[in-house]
């Protein structure tokens, strides 16, 4: 784990039940600086950017990249009937910022607000469709994708941006996951493997821009893939 997150080795103990310790110190982490953010590009001042969850920062940049990839201009997005479906279940920045109440600022509520992850994107690009954050833990992004597909079919919006963010920033949730036995002592995923003994946490931020197939064909979009169906259950 990069030292920029937290000093995981300082919490290490081979026994997962040892108090305030973890037996999993690795995972799949982004090597780039997760706090880097071109805030002026989005019209956000330096002070507000300081209090923004890095997940909000990266979501904005990734969504812009996604729109650019789709060949959609900022002018076309302005006021457009585009839904924003964001997946997330990590409140690490809230935990981090709440350790000292003296640090709270007028930008703290929006900077760490989980719902703002979606609303800030809708606001920045002036999207007028539905905008919310969905949390179903590890399946959040798939749920968000399914919800967006359903919304497109129901006519809730003409297009949809679907994005997920997962950035590890504090030891607290990591400690809880170790205590619950979720994480592999090897910090490695051995999915469908006889060696499977838990999973290794991973970071990432990704986005997809969706349209109904008939609309994409009509608009001459570059169609990268087609989702023919999706479903959710418990």
């Amino acid at each position: 784990m990069p030292r920029s997150r937290f000093n995981a080795s300082g919490f290490y103990h081979p026994d997962q039940n040892h108090p305030v310790s973890v037996n999993s110190t690795g995972g799949y982490f982004i090597k780039d600086n997760i706090r880097s953010f071109d805030n002026s590009f989005f019209g956000i001042n330096n002070l507000e950017a300081t209090y923004m969850d890095p997940q909000q920062r990266q979501l904005l940049e990734v969504c812009f990249e996604c729109f650019e990839s789709a060949g959609v201009t900022l002018e076309q997005l302005k006021g457009a009937d585009v839904g924003c479906y964001i997946a997330n279940f990590l409140a690490d920045f809230v935990v981090l910022q709440s350790k000292d109440a003296e640090l709270f600022h007028r930008y703290s509520a929006t900077g760490m607000g989980l719902s703002i992850m979606a609303n800030r994107i809708s606001n920045a690009f002036d999207l007028k469709g539905p905008s919310f954050v969905l949390d179903t833990a590890c399946s959040s992004s798939l749920y968000a994708l399914h919800t967006a597909c359903s919304a497109l079919r129901d006519g809730d919006c003409a297009a949809a941006i679907v994005a997920g963010a997962n950035l590890v920033q504090t030891p607290e949730l990591h400690l809880m996951m170790v205590k619950a036995g979720f994480l592999s002592p090897t910090s490695t995923c051995h999915t469908f493997d006889t060696d499977a003994d838990g999973y290794g946490r991973g970071e990432g931020v990704g986005a997809l821009y969706l349209k109904r197939l008939s609309d994409a064909i009509r608009d001459g979009d570059l169609i990268r893939s087609v989702i023919r169906g999706s479903a959710v259950n418990r």
Binding site: Q58, R153, D154, G155, T188, G204, G206, Y209, A216
Partner: protein, 97 residues
């Protein structure tokens, strides 16, 4: 105490008697339906009766316009026309041991 005040007081008592999870103000309690507060349904005319099943109690609130949209786009495939990412592509190592 007039009749209305008595009803409100009764609802508070019954809410408390039905369990901690039903704590709410009389105003909120009056707005809750039988699904949200099963115990409150015993108040009779003040609240909706308990449904026999969630499925049968679910009202059809679908506006006609949405129904039309559904018929237009029902089962229509969805196209992915743009992508963005920040982070590595993760690959899994699967052994055959």
């Amino acid at each position: 105490m007039d009749v209305e005040e008595k009803e409100v007081t009764d609802s508070i008592d019954i809410v408390s008697a039905e369990g901690e999870r039903n704590h709410c103000s009389p105003d909120i309690a009056k707005g809750m339906n039988g699904v949200n507060a099963p115990g409150l349904s015993r108040l009779g005319s003040t609240f909706e009766p308990l449904p026999t099943s969630l499925e049968s109690s679910r009202p059809d609130t679908t506006p006609s316009t949405v129904q039309q949209n559904n018929s237009q786009h029902d089962n229509e495939p969805i196209a992915i026309v743009g992508m963005g990412k920040f982070g590595p592509v993760v690959t899994y190592e699967i052994s055959t041991n």
